[in-house]
């Protein structure tokens, strides 16, 4: 099968305007994913499915990944004048990477028996129900998995025919697979609480009555 560079160059020719980036993967056996912007991912997916050399007709896996806002630290060497002498000093540069969510697709070809090609799309932010594009119109197999992504990650996939919660119940608030999700305090009485359980239990003790 073609490598990600070849696929990228052919995609850019076929879908004008698509912003495609090959992401690094440090795992030697793993595949390098292609990140496509949300505006063009539907056209890219259609091309990947119908192209005679690729024929990626089988969308095996769809999932979300949460990347919260993180502080990246980078060491850079800066030339500074210290006590009248120019010296090279290491300085730590801090940058804040804003948080985002990703939807990852693993594509194979049943006809040509090759794969996988890993496709990713990124949302603009981590808001509740932040939008991305559904690929269910291209691969029907995404239907339930994209509903799961909506349910657990809170990514609203535009163009999905039946987007509602699938594993959690209707009316559930919150998105459990996000990294900052806090489980509800469902405390049950314990006769001998200790450690964190004790801390949690203390919140539920009735206030002490002073005579």
């Amino acid at each position: 099968m073609e490598n990600p560079e070849q696929i990228k160059s052919r995609l850019e020719a076929a879908v004008p305007g698509a912003k495609i980036e090959i992401l690094p993967n440090d795992c030697p056996a793993g595949e390098r994913p292609l990140r496509v912007d949300t505006a063009h991912i539907l056209a890219v997916a259609k091309f990947l499915r119908d192209d005679p050399q690729l024929r990626l007709d089988f969308c095996s896996n769809v999932t979300g990944v949460d990347w919260p806002e993180t502080e990246l630290t980078e060491k850079i060497k800066v030339k500074r004048v210290v006590d009248g002498v120019e010296k090279e000093i290491e300085e730590v540069k801090k940058t804040v990477r804003p948080g985002f969510l990703e939807v990852v697709y693993h594509l194979y070809s049943m006809e040509l028996k090759h794969g996988p090609v890993v496709l990713r799309q990124r949302t603009a932010n981590r808001d509740a129900e932040t939008p991305a594009v559904s690929l269910t119109p291209v691969w029907r197999g995404c239907e339930f998995q994209e509903r799961e992504v909506f349910d657990l990650f809170g990514i609203r996939l535009e163009g999905h025919p039946d987007l509602r919660r699938i594993l959690m119940w209707d009316g559930f608030k919150g998105f459990p697979m996000r990294k900052d999700y806090v489980a509800p305090d469902d405390f049950e009485y314990e006769p001998t609480p200790h450690d964190e359980v004790l801390e949690q239990a203390k919140k539920h003790y009735p206030p002490e009555v002073t005579a």
Binding site: N25, D26, C27, P28, A29, G30, E31, P33, D57, F58, C59, S60, N61, T63, V65, V104, H106, M110, K113, P116, V118, W139, R140, G141, C142, E143, F144, Q145, L152, R164, R165, I166, L167, M168, W169, D170, P176, M177, Y181
Partner: protein, 390 residues
Amino acid sequence: MNAVGERPSQNYEILPKPSETGEPLGELLEVSMGPQHPSTHGVFRMDVVLDGEKVMKLKPVFGYLHRNHEKIAENISYLGSMPYTDRLDYFCSMTNNWAYALSVEKLAGLAVPERAEYIRVIMAELTRLQNHTCLVGFFAQDMGALGTPLMYAFREREKILDLFESVSGARMMCNYLRFGGVRCDVTPEWLAQAGQLVDGYGRFLDEFETLLSENEILLARSQGVGVLPRELAVNASITGPMLRAAGVNYDVRKVDRYGIYSRFDFKVPLGEHGDVYDRYMIRVLEMRESVKILKQALRDIPSGPVMDPKAKLRGFRPKSGEAYGRIEAPKGELGFYLISDGTANPYRYRVRPPSFINLTILEDMCLGHRIADTVVILGSVDIVLGEVDR
């Protein structure tokens, strides 16, 4: 039971459509089949809209066993998730272990010793035998053959579970595989016992088939029912025996050749019609192929270590990166997608559950059939709710 239109929820809004000839269709009835229903193989619900007995609409509803396995796995070590994978598809814990071990090995670049590879194949094929045997038993039970076929199936399954118990200590929750090998070696007596079972399995299958394959009721209930067209099967990511019953030649054992499957001589049975009977028949034929693989594996198994000496059980921290590993589990393609950030816990842990995705086309298969047929169609999909709900 509610007459349609009484339920206010917008998700289930169903409006009776006039028929093409302009005749009134009568009152549509919405029936909630499940979650406590003997035919749903667990806590699973089908919201069915009926016109008389005809299915007009069907929506599967599940999540009753949801425990967010993925979130739990992201908060514990890599090895800590191994026993949890047993609980996904609780019929096939060995193959679940294998899929997870394969993904972690791909992520961390571990090699598996020869003997361990053979043991894995033996365990996986025994799992396939017992899963398919049970499925056929349940399937006959769903059609009203109460008791007998299921008890025959469970008799054979128990023999395989005895083998699992003697090697791993547990009948169903085996937790037997490790990254870079298997937990403990099998004894020569165990191999002899397994050989005996495999030699006798063909006879059991003959007996089972004599009772079922040409049974008039089974033929009447399953032929031409729940037809899944080939194109839809591919597009809807259907995998496993269901896909092959629709005539698509795709078996991960042959395509990826993971482990040492390239060394064995076996065929991939394919269906022609994609109906319920084909799905039944594919499973019987797959069992016969599994017996062939088992015979070859038990004959060729070499001696040697069963663990990669480089593999660490404690303090296991794979380098950052991501990997997707998949195997052909009895129910379809079982995959694990892992992202590591270099710490002891996986950053992202995802299970690709075959029976969850195979449910996507349940509605397409059931439309236009009678409600009694949905039971048979669901039985032929082969779902386990532990895996669907995770």
